[in-house]
Symmetry: C3
């Protein structure tokens, strides 16, 4: 594609030779002739000075001395990079139709132009939307609903009666609708299983990472709302409600019945206790442990979670505790001396 | 079911109209006419005032002003709720018999009334108990033993020679009997794999969550005892011994050769180091990191793990470190002043 | 095998009766007559006094009073134990050849003496090396390369174009080459998926644990170098580079684009943030949270990660914060008294 055309399609301002042919989008260190790359974070601008790329997406004010490449100016370079990649990368699309090695219940409904791979199992009364792609070994339970344009990668479990909206992506090995962890203790301390038979709803445009798990509850529902993206090995417990456009990084765990509002972002390995409420747009550093309700819009860190600014202060002080202890010991020494000397004075004064 | 009949089957005392027809067990906020719900924790009693449920399970002393519903009094409302759900929820049961799309070794033994789904693989000499349900894509290794009434959900791996007792439930994608993480370092720093070929035993009534992993050791055995329940994405390393009725929440990890006694409870994301002993009934807050032996019956928190009461105290103090630091700075200031003033006195007194 | 022969094959010095027949390698507490066991850590030497084993591998200077067994002296007893186990344990080897219930693309290449189990899927143009063992339900994407002598356990996903070297072991349910977690936010806060289509390379002799996930990046590559061993439920994000002979324990998570140099060791549940550099041979206690670059060779602990020696000091002080707070309160009391008494003196002296 000519750089000029690319600039138009990305809505970028072009600086340099628009007739260059761009063949690929590449990382700034791997890029060579014919490649487009980008700088999204000013701290990596230095890498642009030595890149071999033919063109670089930069922010409006980014300056690269002695730039040997054409420039595409974008207000949001990362977004322009994402768009460029979408122009160049053609997602692999397995053949449409139903592989003869699959096991589809006669009562299941498969939408037009869907692709069903080998060894896929689809249960009684399940519905697969138009153009959905179901990779090998996916297991879709009875009565499950898979929307249009969904992509279910290899070996996912979509359990019975789970509902997926349109354009939902589920990566390899993820499990949606497994039994929530619910047991009632009897008088002898034995655990009686509480049947977990209620609903799981995954709304439009959600992505769920490899080997992640989303449990179903005994009553009520587990719901993940529109546009939320979940990384690998994440655990969403029974009855959890996740809002729209939420981002959950890898290995996050959210315990039962917790409500996470829209636009929340959690770093990797964050844990949230059950039955709490996380306000809209709250953010959590990696490994944060959340033990209570959290207000909208705040940044939390540590375990137990504190406001990031407080947590940082207290962590600096924890690191400096040896100094503080030394200061206290010195004070004790100085006070002992003062007490002795004062006693001497008082003796002299006879008080 | 008539509420009167339900009260009898649950062993509850009925207050109100026993002739009401109950059709469903529901959450207190979703419940409507014809539904039974429950309050297990007094802090949710307020929700009962506005519920639309026809009947509510309450503890003997729970009081709901202006209750518009019939009441079932239970000593343990959560347990009664579990029992009620078990009366109303009929677990889906796939057809008995062996699906023709499975791959069963001729030397495997399948018990009466077992259900073997499509694409299940059962290895040489494996044994499947009576009435066991094996969902699609389960892979059962050579010589494995699956007890009566077990339920193996889709895509579990039960590796060779693993032994499962009766009524064991394994959720989707879990792996039992994978190689423990054991390597010996040679003089050049290379890691030589130690073959992990010893036993894994899962006793009666254990449940293992989706995508959890239980490793086998090189020597000895990994064992999970009767009635223990394990949530999703939990890692049990090689040679670990887990007692009876233990509860492990999601994303817990237990390192090699550690012994966990009966009735232990661990919150989500707890980690326990290898070769330690966790006493009977010990409890662990979510995210606790256990680095040594733990006495029976204690509640531990934090990393490194402390008794919860000590951990809470020290965490409050950590949060107040800025204050403490300020107090120390004030003391330093006051002492400097004292020293100066005292010096003046001493000059006057000529000491 | 005669103990004398075993001693020669392991390169150990024999003390005792070399004509003993050894049938098995066992744990020190389970070992009986005819068994060989070992003591690798002097703290378990006490167990040797009561073992029923016929022979024990010990370090050159280990002393066991009243030893009732023959001794094999090894400079590295753990390594000798590993070698011994490899002599006694014959790994199960499924039949060579391609199971008739697999789905192999006609354009795929299967090396000589490979074993392809039932329900395996191999995509267009994929290559499987000589003697590779592919267990049931493995899904190998189009254009993937699997080297010689690899072992892919049941239900792994090796995604399209992923490259595995020779002798790579992938345990059950692991996913290699899933989409990295990459989204660009548009002006309305919606997340646009960045196609993740670049390479994943797993070099020779790597082992990847059960249900672990290794993501592919949008550009560049994700690479795990020779001889690295990764435990269960580990997450390796897109664009991560892992060096040679690295050990990552269970539930570790490494965020995008981070570089981990050779010989690094991480305990369980360690988390490493993205875009940082971990120096050669650095070690990390379990649960450490790494938020920045780490120098070669250091031992880090805690969150945020500190040098272990500093972390230990500060943790002891955290535990003793109640004492420190009491000392400060006492100082305040003593200073108040001093101030009062000094004021009295100063009044007398009229200063």
């Amino acid at each position: 594609m000519k750089l000029q055309d690319l600039a138009e399609r990305l809505g970028c301002r072009l600086e340099g030779d628009g007739s260059i042919e761009i063949n690929r989008v590449a990382g700034i260190e791997q890029a060579g002739s014919g490649d487009l790359t980008f700088v999204a974070n000013p701290k990596y601008l230095g890498l642009a000075e030595t890149t071999q790329a033919s063109a670089v997406i930069l922010a409006p004010d980014d300056i690269v001395p002695r730039a040997s490449f054409a420039i595409l100016r974008a207000d949001n370079p990362y977004y322009a990079f994402a768009q460029a990649l979408r122009l160049f990368v053609t997602p692999s699309s397995p053949p449409k139709g139903i592989d003869r090695l699959s096991a589809i219940a006669p009562t299941a409904t498969i939408g037009p132009d869907a692709s069903i791979g080998p060894f896929v199992v689809i249960g009684d009364g399940a519905t697969i939307g138009a153009r959905a792609v179901v990779y090998p070994h996916a297991v879709i339970g009875a009565g499950a609903t898979i929307g249009d344009d969904c992509v279910l990668h290899a070996r996912v479990s979509i359990r019975e009666r789970v509902q997926l909206g349109n354009r939902v992506v589920v990566l390899d090995g993820a499990v949606i609708g497994s039994d929530g962890f619910g047991f009632a203790r009897d008088s002898r301390g034995e655990h009686l299983k509480i049947p977990q038979g209620a609903d799981v709803v995954i709304e439009d445009d959600v992505e769920i990472g490899a080997n992640s798990t989303v449990d179903r509850p005994a009553v009520g529902e587990t719901r993940i709302r529109k546009g939320t993206k979940i990384d690998n090995l994440v655990h969403i417990a029974h009855g959890v409600q996740i809002g729209e456009r939420v981002l959950l990084a890898a290995q996050v765990g959210i315990a039962g019945s917790t409500v996470v509002e829209d636009d929340v972002m959690m770093g990797g390995q964050v844990g949230v206790t059950g039955h709490v409420h996380i306000g809209k747009g709250a953010m959590f550093s990696a490994k944060t442990g959340v033990t209570g309700n959290v207000d909208a819009g705040v940044l939390m860190s540590g375990y137990p979670a504190l406001l990031n600014i407080e947590w940082r202060k207290s962590q600096v002080l924890v690191r400096h505790l040896p100094k503080l202890k030394k200061r206290v010991a010195e004070l004790e020494q100085r006070i002992a001396e003062l007490e002795e000397k004062l006693a001497e004075c008082r003796t002299r004064l006879d008080v």
